[in-house]
């Protein structure tokens, strides 16, 4: 059987490296940083890891309903498609920086796309 995306990228160790890079980009991105500002940074980093693991098709236990519930308070604060696109951009840039091949980046983007309606509560 061929390896899945998460394994091809390097599994958990690769995600640990990606978290710092990704989270730094998100916090520096004026379009979305305000969603992350008032959350405890260390907890937030753990959540970024959950996000990346999921986006890369790794083992996770989140259902669509969990995603809906987990982001509902952000939707109430105005979370919309433009913010979602910004997160996707930062994810792609992070993976590029880690020299992940474009075909795999496209796979990660497709996984995220699949959560869009749940995340945005549509």
């Amino acid at each position: 059987m061929s390896k899945n995306l998460f394994e091809q990228i390097g599994g958990e160790p690769a995600v640990n490296v990606a978290v710092d890079i990704f989270y730094r980009k998100v916090l520096s991105d004026d379009r979305i940083s305000h969603f992350f500002d008032d959350v405890d940074m260390e907890r937030q980093a753990a959540k970024q890891k959950a996000f990346l693991t999921m986006a890369l098709g790794g083992p996770n236990k989140y259902s669509g309903a969990d995603m809906r519930r987990g982001h509902a308070h952000l939707v109430a604060r105005g979370l919309n498609d433009s913010h979602f696109d910004a997160v996707m951009e930062n994810l792609a840039a992070t993976l590029q920086e880690l020299n992940v091949p474009p075909a795999l980046i496209a796979q990660a983007a497709a996984i995220c796309e699949g959560t869009r309606n749940d995340v945005l509560g549509k």
Partner: protein, 323 residues
């Protein structure tokens, strides 16, 4: 089959069950969220038994060496005795050896104890004024050098515990403490790594412990200590730290004043701003941030954005309850 001992009860851990599964199955109110080793909300500490290495994945080194692990991804091969991460339930007894002024509103409290208290400089204890009232104070002492615990306590007008310490505590008094806790301390192993220490007010206490501990353990990389206050009276141990900088070529001390009065020998500005202007690129650095909670929160973000890795950022915010 491994057994798990927790708060006086022992539970059998069936094949494939995680420690968290076992606790929840027996009705233990254990905090948890992702159940996949990501969110760390279920973190506990092992007292006896060997942990599978994978159960400490993602936990930062300073906590890992103390036995912290994630019950949700821990499938033990060995019997374990585990405890919740807080230490409030345990008490130690110590005798006040001296209360010495360090400045107009900071005293150094020396505490000695019959049974040696093991700690790492920079950790904190909770000092009990009475059974119901305790406050956290950081350990500025280094076990091998000082032979007693030392605290730096700033006095707050109407502060219940700090006023008691300043006004009522006398040599010979016996006091109760919680065992040392916290993960803001020096770990040997990367002797060449540059260290950046930023503190405001009595945030110097843990940093003073950490810096001297690092030097004593032979740290060779640069150690830069920024101590900030608004007024000159807010800085203390200035001469002692200047001496230390004379003594060790890799140790540098920057006393910073953000108010309008800045005598010779002090830097004008806030400690965090000055530190970042001297070292704008912090990838590869290890960072320690202590003191004012707003400063610590802002500093965590700014040093991270300046390139420091999340796991290299250690901090203690001196949070306090509003009146």
């Amino acid at each position: 089959m491994a057994s798990i001992t927790f708060e006086g009860n022992s539970y059998r851990c069936e094949e494939g069950q995680s420690v968290l599964d076992v606790l929840l199955a027996h009705g233990v109110a254990a905090p948890h969220s992702c159940r996949s080793g990501s969110c760390q909300s279920c973190m506990m500490r092992v007292e006896t038994g060997e942990l599978p290495e994978s159960s400490q994945a993602g936990i930062k080194e300073t906590l890992r060496v103390q036995g912290y692990f994630l019950p949700c991804i821990c499938r033990p091969g060995d019997d374990l005795t585990i405890v919740r991460p807080d230490t409030d339930t345990m008490r130690l007894e110590a005798t006040v050896s001296h209360v010495t002024a360090l400045s107009d509103h900071v005293v150094c409290v020396g505490l000695s104890s019959q049974t040696p208290i093991s700690y790492r400089p920079g950790q904190f204890i909770n000092l009990f004024k009475d059974d119901a009232t305790a406050r956290s104070y950081s350990l500025a002492s280094v076990p091998d050098m000082d032979g007693e615990l030392r605290l730096h306590v700033r006095r707050f007008a109407n502060g219940q515990v700090s006023t008691w310490i300043h006004e009522a505590l006398r040599p010979g008094d016996r006091v109760q403490l919680s065992p040392p806790a916290g993960d803001c301390f020096y770990l040997p192993g990367q002797a060449e790594q540059p260290l950046l220490l930023i503190g405001t007010g009595t945030g110097l206490a843990p940093l003073y412990g950490i810096a001297r501990d690092a030097l004593a353990q032979g740290h060779r990389g640069p150690i830069h200590l920024y101590h900030g206050s608004r007024e000159p009276a807010g800085l203390y141990l200035v001469e002692r730290l200047q001496e230390l900088a004379q003594q060790y070529a890799n140790f540098r001390y920057f006393p910073c004043l953000s108010g309008s009065e800045v005598p010779d020998g002090f830097l004008p500005g806030r400690a965090l701003d000055l530190a970042l202007s001297h070292a704008p690129e912090l990838s590869g650095w290890r960072i320690y941030l202590c003191g004012n909670p707003d400063m610590v929160k802002l500093a965590r973000k700014r040093v991270f954005l300046a390139g420091a890795s999340m796991r290299e950022i250690h901090s203690d915010a001196f949070t306090h309850q509003a009146a």
